[in-house]
């Protein structure tokens, strides 16, 4: 199992012994200059893996410099773990090389599929929660972990549709997948909130079913409420009910790093970081 630990990082009680890095931010180009010039005291950054793949140029220059000073975790959107297309071995090789280059503490992606028949929608498309899908995804997660030589963390996505042939709720699928594939989980509490509103379930039911010893990271984010449905737009500050869900998740864990995603109308670095640090109010100052 690959593991790189900087001095000062706290090893925590998740079963993968991945470190609790603290409160981090999604790395965004609009903040590059501030980060490089001012070296703000941020615990860690999460990168969108695909932004640094299939490039030899400037994105990697920035990443190299930032990775010299901050712990990095990788978060992908194109693994397409639920697709019925074959796994893209070239993509996996590139992920692995990027991980080694930036010394990423872990690699994550989403419980979803992004395309089929050779097409990539670059969107996080919903899975049916069936035994067939569970077996299919678990096989692929195991294959990816074998390839990476490290645990893969899978995130619960926001979803806007449910299949009629679902045979279990998402939280059961998510938890069983983690056990069957022996993978890590990235619990996005904003996504739990968004999906709970879109599908009409109690978010605490979700929380209660999660095997928290497998959770290695939390996500929080803003969203857009259209009245009839909520879109996971990563815009604006995090609303209090989502912060409270983070608190509920934190209580069930032994200490998990928190990451704020802000992707639309991104404010200054200072405002973004201040929003992320609000997590302290809900998880305690020692996290």
């Amino acid at each position: 199992m690959r593991r790189v630990v900087l001095s000062g990082e706290k090893l925590m009680a998740n079963r993968f012994q991945l470190p609790n890095l603290g409160i981090g931010l999604g790395l965004r180009t609009t903040h590059y200059s501030t980060i490089l010039e001012q070296k703000p005291a941020v615990d860690w950054f999460e990168i969108l893996s695909e932004n640094y793949l299939r490039t030899q140029g400037r994105p990697l220059d920035f990443l190299d410099r930032i990775a010299e000073s901050y712990p990095i975790a990788m978060h992908g959107v194109s693994l397409s773990i639920g697709s019925t297309d074959p796994l893209d071995r070239q993509y996996l090789s590139e992920l692995k090389a990027l991980r080694d280059r930036c010394r990423a503490r872990w690699v994550s992606d989403h419980l979803c599929w992004t395309g089929v028949a050779g097409k990539n929608t670059h969107d996080l498309l919903p899975m049916p929660y069936t035994e067939e899908a569970l077996a299919h995804v678990a096989d692929r997660v195991r294959a990816v972990q074998d390839f990476l030589g490290a645990p893969l963390a899978l995130e619960n996505p926001s979803s806007y549709a449910q299949f009629t042939d679902d045979s279990m709720p998402e939280w059961e699928f998510f938890g069983r997948l983690a056990e069957d594939a022996d993978c890590a989980l990235l619990l996005d509490v904003n996504n739990v909130y968004v999906s709970s509103k879109n599908h009409g379930f109690d978010p605490l039911s979700y929380m209660n079913a999660i095997p928290f010893d497998r959770v290695v990271q939390f996500h929080v984010a803003g969203h857009t409420d259209h009245g009839t449905h909520i879109i996971d737009s990563h815009i604006g500050p995090v609303i209090d009910p989502v912060w409270q869900l983070l608190g509920a998740a934190h209580q069930r864990s032994a200490g998990v790093p928190v990451l704020l995603e802000w992707d639309a109308e991104i404010p200054s670095f200072e405002v973004t970081h201040a929003e992320a640090l609000r997590a302290r109010e809900f998880i305690g100052v020692d996290a």
């Binding site: 969108l48 926001s158 449910q162």
Partner: protein
Amino acid sequence: MNREATADALGLHERASATPERADTLSEAALGSAPAWTLGKLGLRAQQEWFLAIISTPQAEPAPVNEHSASRLIKPSATLSSLERIDIYRRGYHARLIDCLLDDYPVLAHALGEAAFEALCRRYIAQHPSSGPSLNYFGRHMGDLCRSEPLPEPGFAADLARLEWAIVLAIHAPTSEAIGFEDLSQVPSERWPGARFRVNPSLEILHLDYPANAYLQAYRRGEPMELPGARPTSVAVYRTGRSVWRLELEPTLVTLVESLAKGATLEAGLAEVQALLARGAEQDGAEQEIARKVAHCFQHSVSSGLFSEISL
């Protein structure tokens, strides 16, 4: 002949995991239509093909299933029908890719206007769906598409798209630093004729029919612009460190750089420049002026940072 840096010194924007939203210029897509899919019990593969076929259908067209068919696979919610729920993904699919193209082609979008650019993007998405894990090169066909589209000035649009795409390529090209005169000063004079220059690995020289670079620069400066008439120009696009540069090239500089890029020695490259100038000289006694211009051409190529290495 100044070189201009692009205003965006940092890079292209992220392709995030968020669900993008756009205020579509389209009228509401027709959600109901004749069913084109016979639905029995579908396995995972068939479900995914079904879902993809619906969400990748252009929004100006009716969905390929009706509500009755959709509800056999997708549950309605308390507030949305099955087809409305799928349509969230359909909108998200197109919005994300339009945003990507807008990120790559902001000046083309300005030149065409929002509605025309969005319509162009929708045709692009239909003709060139993404097949790879990264969106970094998704927009590579825009120049070709512009040339074949019924746009007001398709030639200008195509040239502008080629220029903006060259900027994208320069961002993703290997990083290189430029050699300067201090590097040249270390070359013994007797080695000059045989010296070979490696051009910056990100360099692309565009030969355009329209002054797209002047238009782009006016856009960056916030100056008033009109769609220009045809005027051939050559533009070098390249990156040194983190800065992407656009440099309009005179014919002499094009000749020198293209010659050296092909591996010619400096002596051979300058001879080509000299020959070019001599063809344009109409009066006797122009030799000194030609020699001055040849020297200036070389100095300009070095000071512009077009070369990354000298080999002797």
